[in-house]
């Protein structure tokens, strides 16, 4: 009964407040184009703590494992490596050669590193990795496999006790494939980027009015509205494309919290301008100025996606095209509605000022949030 009582808190607690990580290792597989022999480079990083479960390295029993003690067991560590990690091409298992032992410091302590080259026969455009280290001792052990090859997107996958074999293909992604992937990311980002959407809507709202003194008169023809919208969207696009490129190339870097705060500020300015216009003509200048800021925001997202050096320009253009497509969808939805509504007193007298006021508050709220 005592054991039962002691464990009540634990029983009623779903997770563990983890002070440590689960056991992990890292397996880098790098396909090289510049060498004809042994083009598959392998680097396995494993925590000393985990390696120590397979054999005793503390040969002098002083309670501490030194680099010297580890090095003296180099061959047995290499044996652990080659017995538990298999790389196979279509024609069978590759032999692991030129194995060397190194050390590396991770956030949770030292890791032993084995560097090796795989000698495979035949075609290696497709190969399997089989991994069996530690699973019979620690079933939660996992290995993060990081696969890189010239002309392909870096790929990371996890090996666990329930999935011990992974298949990789060394076929580079086509230019079209890469491009369309980044177009999708651009569209997706606009879709979830509420602040960008709000700023764009702020800019669009006044295009259906002509300001005369303090009065707002609805435009009579669609063509001038369309021209204004094209100017606005072009200015915004041009500006954010410039900063997106500059930031992606690491020519200009600004901390994310500053950019995020300035984006919120841009909404306040644009929405305030709808209520109390201080920029009455050439609104596209404002679109351009703040477009520069929004571009840095897009760059933060793009950098998170992991750009491929080889296809940098394709990735960048693809993402930008995606952003533009997303913007066009917003324009296509908003513009007909506000054009249709411009003659209604309800829209002019209540909806327009109320929505702009709301945007000032939302922008202000976000600004406080992001500065705080």
């Amino acid at each position: 009964m005592k054991i039962f009582f002691m464990s009540i808190f634990w029983v009623m607690t779903i997770s563990l407040a983890q002070a440590h990580q689960t056991s992990d290792s890292f397996l880098h597989i790098n396909m090289r184009d510049d060498v004809s022999e042994h083009p598959i480079e392998i680097q396995w990083e494993v925590a000393i703590r985990d390696l120590q479960l397979t054999q005793n390295f503390d040969t002098n029993f002083d309670g501490a494992i030194s680099w010297g003690e580890l090095k003296r067991k180099q061959q047995s560590i290499i044996n652990v490596f080659s017995e538990n990690i298999t790389i196979s091409s279509v024609e069978g298992a590759c032999s692991l050669q030129d194995n060397t032992l190194l050390l590396e410091k991770h956030s949770d302590g030292y890791y032993a590193v084995i560097k090796s080259n795989a000698n495979c026969t035949g075609n290696i455009s497709e190969f399997d990795i089989n991994y069996n280290f530690l699973f019979d001792i620690d079933a939660l052990h996992k290995s993060l496999v990081i696969f890189s090859a010239e002309g392909t997107q870096m790929e990371t996958r996890v090996i666990s006790s329930s999935e011990r074999t992974l298949s990789f293909s060394n076929t580079p992604l086509s230019v079209i494939g890469q491009f369309s992937q980044f177009v999708k990311e651009g569209v997706w980002h606009i879709g979830i980027g509420y602040d960008h959407i709000l700023f764009l809507i702020c800019l669009l709202l006044p295009v259906v009015w002509i300001r005369k003194n303090r009065k707002l008169d609805p435009v009579t023809r669609f063509k001038p509205v369309l021209i204004d919208v094209v100017k606005l969207v072009t200015a915004f696009t041009l500006a954010h494309s410039i900063t997106l490129a500059l930031a992606s190339l690491n020519i200009v870097t600004i901390p994310a919290y500053i950019i995020e705060s300035l984006i919120a500020f841009s909404i306040i300015v644009a929405a305030t301008n709808n209520l109390y216009p201080f920029i009455k003509k050439r609104l596209w200048w404002m679109a351009f100025a703040f477009g520069l800021i929004h571009g840095f925001g897009f760059a933060n997202v793009l950098s998170d996606l992991g750009l491929n050096n080889e296809m940098f320009v394709i990735n960048l253009i693809g993402f930008n095209v995606g952003v533009e497509l997303g913007q066009l969808v917003i324009v296509a939805v908003v513009l007909p509605i506000i054009y249709w509504a411009r003659n209604f007193k309800l829209y002019k007298g209540i909806v327009y000022p109320a929505s702009s006021t709301a945007m000032v508050f939302i922008g202000g709220f976000w600004l406080i949030e992001r500065v705080a």
């Binding site: 009623m12 407040a17 680099w67 010297g68 590396e104 590193v113 993060l144 979830i192 509420y194 992991g306």
Partner: protein, 404 residues
């Protein structure tokens, strides 16, 4: 592959991993690992040897598994769960079918629960109940799982099944905890307060658990002074409990008591969750010291790397804390909202609802807000802080607190 979060994670893992540089130390005496030689580790090793020598003996297996799980809990180290799982894995199916060793099945369910494989844990516990109703722990575990998933009627049923099979304090705590989430907060608080007073001599860890429930109830009732007292007392009885410490830190952050947050966490920064809250307090302290600002930057980088790796390796664990991290420390609301939504698909505890509500409010995501409102109304859930956010009073309160 299609979700942007995947790329984000991949990128940061790749960066952190790629930037690491293997080297050959010049000094052969460089100590690279301290071998643990404590009573716990020695006992575990001897139990492991026993188990390996007597592979068919289920008692030796249970002794090793039970001890591993205990060590995992005590040291907040998931590796020991891994050892227990590795030991049980080869034979657990056989025990499940034969039903001959319910103790091992309960340990298996415990491991599955830790791994958040709730369906497997539930299936195993139901099997144990079908075999024997002797162990009240089974019902408690099931209740905890149902509660985490927001399945309150089922959770309550498991608590009711404990009647006469456990102490009144445990029974009352189990029932009132769920009742407090389903429209009976005030009464539940009163009943549990009286019971804890009657059984003040109970086991310290149990007592700490009950006090932490009372603290959380007090917080939701807006009885902040009482909540602080309950949290403090709970931590005095069970100082190593990371959950209570984390909940207390959240409570203090809401109160804007950043100095106190740092005081209670400064010696416990070995978990990401506590480091996250410490850093939030640091940020809001608005210190101009260069060293503090550098410490904040370092902590944010460390948390970013850890959460990215954890997301990839452990899937959906720590999603709530990740959402908090992206919302408050990275100021990336869209990302925080996406994480909070993913978290809500799995976990439906009040803290999960709260971070989702906060993210949805900031993003103006009316659909999510309405879903949460429906959830709140259907469960008759009461929470003063929640109401503040719902009524947008959080706008004024936010300057004072952090996690509203």
């Amino acid at each position: 592959m299609k979700h942007p979060l995947f790329f984000i994670i991949v990128f940061f893992i790749s960066i952190s991993v790629c930037n690491a540089a293997p080297f050959t130390p010049e000094n052969e005496n460089l100590v690279i690992y301290q071998v643990e030689k404590t009573a716990l580790s020695e006992k575990l090793e001897s139990l492991r040897i026993n188990m390996l020598e007597n592979k068919t003996n289920s008692s030796d297996l249970e002794a090793y598994v039970a001890f591993s799980i205990n060590v995992a809990r005590k040291k907040s180290d998931p590796r020991y769960f891994g050892y227990a799982k590795a030991a049980l894995q080869p034979t657990i199916k056989q025990y499940f079918i034969s039903g001959t060793h319910t103790g091992l099945l309960i340990h298996w369910a415990d491991i599955m629960q830790f791994m958040h494989q709730f369906d497997e844990a539930e299936r195993t516990l139901q099997r144990v109940i079908n075999i024997s109703r002797d162990n009240p722990r089974t019902n408690l575990m099931l209740s905890a799982i149902y509660q985490a998933q927001g399945r309150y009627p089922e959770a309550l049923k498991q608590c009711n099944a404990l009647f006469t099979r456990t102490s009144m304090l445990v029974l009352t705590a189990c029932i009132t905890q769920i009742k407090s989430l389903t429209g009976n907060l005030k009464d539940s608080f009163t009943v549990l307060s009286k019971q804890v007073y009657r059984e003040s001599h109970s086991n310290a860890v149990n007592h700490a658990w009950v006090l932490s429930i009372l603290a959380e109830m007090s917080e939701r009732l807006n009885k902040n002074d009482q909540a602080a007292d309950f949290f403090t007392e709970s931590l005095r009885l069970d100082p190593l409990n990371g959950f209570t410490r984390s909940a207390y830190a959240d409570f203090l952050l809401d109160q804007g008591k950043y100095r106190q947050v740092k005081d209670i966490l400064s010696d416990h920064l070995f978990t990401d969750g506590l480091l996250l809250r410490y850093t939030m307090a640091d940020v809001h302290s608005k210190s101009n010291h260069q060293s503090t600002r550098q410490e904040i930057r370092n902590n944010i980088e460390k948390l970013h790397a850890n959460y990215s790796l954890s997301q990839k390796m452990d899937g959906d664990s720590h999603l709530r804390d990740q959402a908090i991290f992206y919302l408050y420390l990275k100021k990336q609301q869209s990302k925080a909202l996406a994480l909070a939504k993913s978290n809500w698909e799995i976990y439906k505890e009040p803290a999960d609802a709260r971070i989702l509500l906060r993210c949805a409010h900031l993003a103006g995501d009316e659909k999510t807000i309405n879903q949460l409102r429906e959830w709140k109304e259907s469960n008759r859930y009461e929470n003063a802080v929640w109401d503040q956010i719902m009524n947008m009073d959080g706008l004024s309160g936010y300057g004072k607190g952090t996690t509203l």
